[in-house]
Amino acid sequence: MVIFYVLLVFMLIAAIIAVETDDLLSSVICVGAVGVGGSIMFLFLRAPDIAITQIVVEVLGLIILIRATIARDLTFISGDREFFGLVVSIVIMLVIFLAGVRVLGNLPPFGTPVFSQVPDAASRTYIAEGLQKTGAANIVAAIILDYRGYDTLGEATVLFTSIIGATVMLRSKCRKSLEDRNG
């Protein structure tokens, strides 16, 4: 149990540095530290699939973020937003904080999942019959590829759409020639 607290404190410190430092590149590197801490934490939470995915996504995300920050001018942007924006931000944070505190009081204690108390929970069925019905030894793979295959199809669609959007936005050659033609 101690390892969870150590990793969470590590993630919190890295997140605070990432938020508060002025240098964008060090901020991005600290986000990488948060992600790696999360990946190790997934490993200790008995979720090896998530840990592997998280570390791959983390590396790719870090490359994307560094692409955005490197070779840009490093003028430090400081100061606060104007009064109205600040008030709205504080109200938003306060509302979400109060809702979160309310939810925290109703959560089951850490280490006892809800599905262990419900006799016919979906997760229980997946564990008991996953191997027999789908033939996959990894229950997570059985869920994402068999029981909830349409969910994965939707995920692939979202990923495809977002990458198309990024490509369209970053492509400059074709857009420039179009602008020249229009005058």
């Binding site: 993630m11 938020v19 979720a47 995915t53 996504v57 931000s89 997946y126 030894a137």
Partner: protein
């Protein structure tokens, strides 16, 4: 208590996303929030002294083709893991989209400061 620390991580990300003026900092805040939410969902399914939801030979009865009751009572919840796996990959896609918006805005206005961008409008 781990839930509360996870919520604190979420609040740090939210603070970064709503208060900071730098566009890349806002994206970073959204990424930190996403990590916190994913971590929270996995924590909800955790079981003390649990096992990963992967069936191996010791917890499988070949005669009946069923998993043993010991594995059923030890495995962590596989459903949040499957959903978070989806969510992490979608997070990468949205991160790429947000960063491409930032790069395009920087090329047009020459700054990441959102208040400057608003002033230069029109």
């Amino acid at each position: 208590m781990p839930y509360a620390m996870c919520f604190l991580l979420f609040m740090i990300g939210l603070y970064c996303a709503v208060v900071k003026k730098n566009m890349v900092k806002i994206v970073i805040g959204l990424a930190v929030m996403e990590y916190a939410v994913n971590l929270f969902l996995i924590m909800l399914g955790f079981r003390v002294n649990g096992a990963a939801p992967i069936v191996d030979k010791t917890c499988y009865d070949p005669a009946t083709g069923r998993v043993t009751a010991g594995f059923l009572n030890a495995a962590v919840d596989p459903l949040p893991q499957a959903l978070v796996l989806t969510s992490i990959v979608i997070g990468l896609g949205t991160l790429a989209l947000l960063i491409s918006i930032c790069i395009r805005t920087y090329e047009k206005y020459g700054t990441f400061d959102i208040t400057q961008i608003r002033k230069l409008k029109g």
